[in-house]
Amino acid sequence: MVLHLFYFLVFPGLLFAGIVGGLLSWFDRKVTAWVQFRRGPVLMQPFYDVMKLLLVKETIVPARGSVITFLAAPVAGLFGASVSAVLILLPAFGISAGFRGDIIVIFYLLTIPSLSWAIGALASANPLAAVGASREIKLLIGFELTLLLIFAAVILKSGMTISLYEIIALQQENRVLAGSLSGILLFVAMIFCVQAKMGMVPFDIAEAETELSEGAFIEFSGPPYALIKITKYIMLFVLTALVAVLLLGGLPVDGISLLWSLLKILSVALLLVLIRNTNPRVKIGQAMRFFFIWMNGLVIIAIILSYFGL
């Protein structure tokens, strides 16, 4: 029991994933600044932001909306992100074997943040937040099927095992899944799914700073917004780790392979940031079409290829 609480609150869960995610978020902002020939923020900037929101700012609750739902939504999102961090990172670091079928649980847990943000936004009774929330849900419908197909393809490629630990072990014995033709297709689709899940620029339709002014998050202020920020940091780390676990052979931490794990995380994050910085925002219909037709097609081709052993 104590060990489980430690897993959830300290080591791969809330604290560790929050800190590493904060550093990754700094990496994101710094690389963005470099792309635009700027200097960019200091290393501790994400933590300054969160501390300010958490300790200094007041919480404003909507007078018309449902206060309890509004305040519970960020907590639920943070819970979903930290539990998925535990379930993904423990097998990834090789600490525990997880349980049979955890890959399916992870898929559902990763949906909780987006879903809870949409519920919180709808509870705030703000029209802009409502538009943001409806876009968030539409986007969720768009990319979730692709993500599910990717999970299915990974399960098929690793010989019908539904345990994350066995998938990693299989990749470390043979070769990484992204090393084959179908694996490369899966990697491309996975990167776009992560991009949409993080709400990064080609798919930041739900927060659309210029027209919806932060969309779903418009009403959140002070500590609830700090929780949303921490959730975003954790999700950034967890999703890059998920790409590394499913397709790039896990994140072993013993000896020199720690360096490789770090390199995997950073290069996936770098890819995400570069896509974010070189693309305009798409419309919601374009995003849905992109996922429904192109990405689903890509993954189905990958599944067919992997059936023939490519």
Partner: protein, 165 residues
């Protein structure tokens, strides 16, 4: 809070010169993000409200509303001649007073328009005055504004505004 000021830009009836100079602070040459400052889209996230342009009778209601929507503690910076004093509009018919007659202002950045360097220097001085070791007295208000007066002035269009009375 000192190291992470999020800016919310309120443009009154501005001639757009100050707006452009504020946006110039975000570009690669001046880059306010290296001080941890970000331009945010919602007043709920704002730590500093930048007000520029002359405030006319219509804009006054909006300014008061935005001020109440911002999560406190929240600083206000008046930018440009129009924001500080009213500039050439000071005697106009529809002019509703410089910013400090409507909401309490923490810093003034004069100029028509102020250069981006001046805006950065003004923000740096604001941080120094509010959070630094050396206490710089904040500007004197010739006309003291109390919170109740602001509330009376407000026309409640958005009922979500929560007031701490």
């Amino acid at each position: 809070m000192k190291k992470s000021l999020w800016l919310f830009h309120f443009g009154g009836a501005s001639c757009n010169n100050c707006d452009i100079e504020i946006l110039a602070c975000l570009n690669p040459r001046f880059d306010v993000e290296r001080f941890g400052m970000l331009l945010v889209g919602s007043p709920r996230h704002a730590d500093v409200i930048l007000v520029n342009g002359s405030i006319n009778k219509k804009g006054k209601e909006r300014l008061v509303e935005v001020y109440h929507q911002a999560a406190k503690p929240c600083l206000v910076v008046a930018i440009g001649a129009c924001g500080c004093t009213g500039g050439i509009f000071a005697e106009g018919d529809t002019f509703a007073g410089p910013v400090d007659n409507i909401i309490p202002v923490d810093a003034y950045i004069p100029g028509c328009p102020p250069k981006p360097e001046a805006i950065l220097a003004g923000l740096a001085k604001l941080v120094e005055a509010k959070f630094g070791k050396k206490k710089i007295p904040s500007p004197d208000h010739t006309k003291k504004i109390d919170e109740n007066e602001i509330v009376e002035n407000e026309i409640v269009t958005n009922e979500k505004v929560t007031l701490k009375k």
